[in-house]
C-alpha cells in the first residue's frame, strides 16, 4: 500500500528545480535534507531527467513551416465563414422546394379525387381564354385556380423568408 505524505521542503525544492537553482543556488540545509528524503530525492531525479530530455528534444525537433499553417488556418476559417453564411439560404431553399412539392402533390391528389380535367386546364391557359379569365365576371373555376396557386406561392415565399430569417438569427 502506497502512503501519500507531503514533505515540508517539497515546495521550496520544486521552485529551485524549476528556476534552475538546484543544487548550487540552494542552502546546505535543503541539500542535506534531499540526501535523506526519498520523496525529495525522487523529485530531484525525475525533474532533472525530464528537463534534460526536454532540452534534447527541443534541439532535435525539426520545425515545420508556420506560414503554411497560418495560411491553412486562414483558409479553414474562411471556408467555415462561407458555410455559415450560406447555411440559412440553403435551409430556406430546401424548405421552399419542399412546400412547393407538397402543394403540387396535394393539388394533384385533390384534382384526381374529383376526376381529372387536364384538358379543361389546358384550354384555360390559351392566351385569349387567359385574358378572359383576368376580367371580372369570368369563369369561377379559373379564378379559384389562380387564387389557389397564388396563395400557395405567397405562402411558400413567406415561409421561406421566415425560415431564412430564423436561421440567420440563430
Amino acid at each position: 500500500m502506497m502512503t501519500f505524505r507531503t514533505c515540508s521542503y517539497e515546495k521550496e525544492l520544486h521552485q529551485a528545480l524549476k528556476d534552475g537553482h538546484w543544487p548550487e543556488g540552494c542552502g546546505q540545509e535543503l541539500r542535506s535534507h534531499v540526501d535523506g528524503c526519498v520523496k525529495c530525492s525522487d523529485l530531484v531525479l525525475v525533474t532533472q531527467t525530464f528537463q534534460r530530455a526536454r532540452t534534447e528534444s527541443e534541439r532535435a525537433t525539426p520545425c515545420g513551416s508556420p506560414s503554411l499553417l497560418w495560411w491553412r488556418a486562414q483558409l479553414r476559417r474562411r471556408n467555415a465563414a462561407a458555410e455559415r453564411v450560406s447555411r440559412p439560404i440553403t435551409i430556406a431553399q430546401t424548405f421552399a422546394w419542399v412546400v412547393t412539392v407538397l402543394v403540387g402533390v396535394v393539388f394533384v391528389a385533390s384534382q384526381y379525387s374529383h376526376g381529372l380535367r387536364w384538358a379543361s386546364w389546358g384550354s384555360e391557359f390559351v392566351p385569349p381564354r387567359a385574358f378572359h379569365l383576368l376580367r371580372f365576371g369570368s369563369g369561377q373555376v379559373g379564378w379559384n385556380f389562380l387564387l389557389l396557386i397564388s396563395s400557395f406561392a405567397v405562402l411558400a415565399l413567406l415561409s421561406a423568408l421566415v425560415v431564412y430569417l430564423a436561421a440567420e438569427k440563430s
Binding site: 501519500f4 524549476k18 528537463q51 455559415r84
Partner: protein, 194 residues
Amino acid sequence: MRKPDTTGEYAIPNVGARGASRTDELPMDSDAFAGFYQRSAPGLRAYLVRVSGNTALADDLMQESYLRFLCASRPEGGEVNYRRYLYRIATNLLRDHWRRPGAACIEDVPEQFLAAQDRLSSIDSQATLEPALARMRPRERQLLWLAHAEGYSHREISEITGLSAAGIRLLLFRARRKIARLLRQQIAADRGKA
C-alpha cells in the same frame, strides 16, 4: 459542469465559434504566429511524441493543434496562456484519438507502446529516461511530462487535462515514485554494464 465537445471534455472554440463571426482575420498575424510557433512547437512536439509514442501521430496532432489554435478566438492573457491553451487542444486531440474505435484507451495502452523508431529515442538514448518512460502508462507519461518537463502546476495540469487537481496530485505522486524507481534501476544497470 463542463460541456462535452468532439475533442474531449473541454469545449474548444472552433471555426464555428462566436469569435469567427466577428472577423475573418486570424487572432494573430503571420509574423506573430511564426514567432510563437518557433518558441512553442519543439516543446509541444516533444510532449506529443513522448505521450503518444508515435512520431507520425504526434506530427499530425501538432499541426491540427495549431490550426485549431489559430481558428479559435484568442484566449485571454499573453503567450503563457496561449501555450497552455495549445497544450489543452493537443491533449484533447490525443484523448479524442484514443477514444476512437480501434484505438487503445489511454489507460490501456501497453507500456511497450513507445515506438522503437522514434527519432527522439536515438538522440537521448544515452539518457536513462527512455526505457523507464516506456514502462509507464500514457496517462502517467502525460502528467510527468507536463509537471516536470514543462513545469506546470497541478492547477494548470488540471486545466490542460480536465482531471481534478486532487486526482492529479495523487496520480503524479504515484507516477513519480514509479519512474524514480525505474530510473534508479536503469542507472544501476548502466553502471553494471560499465
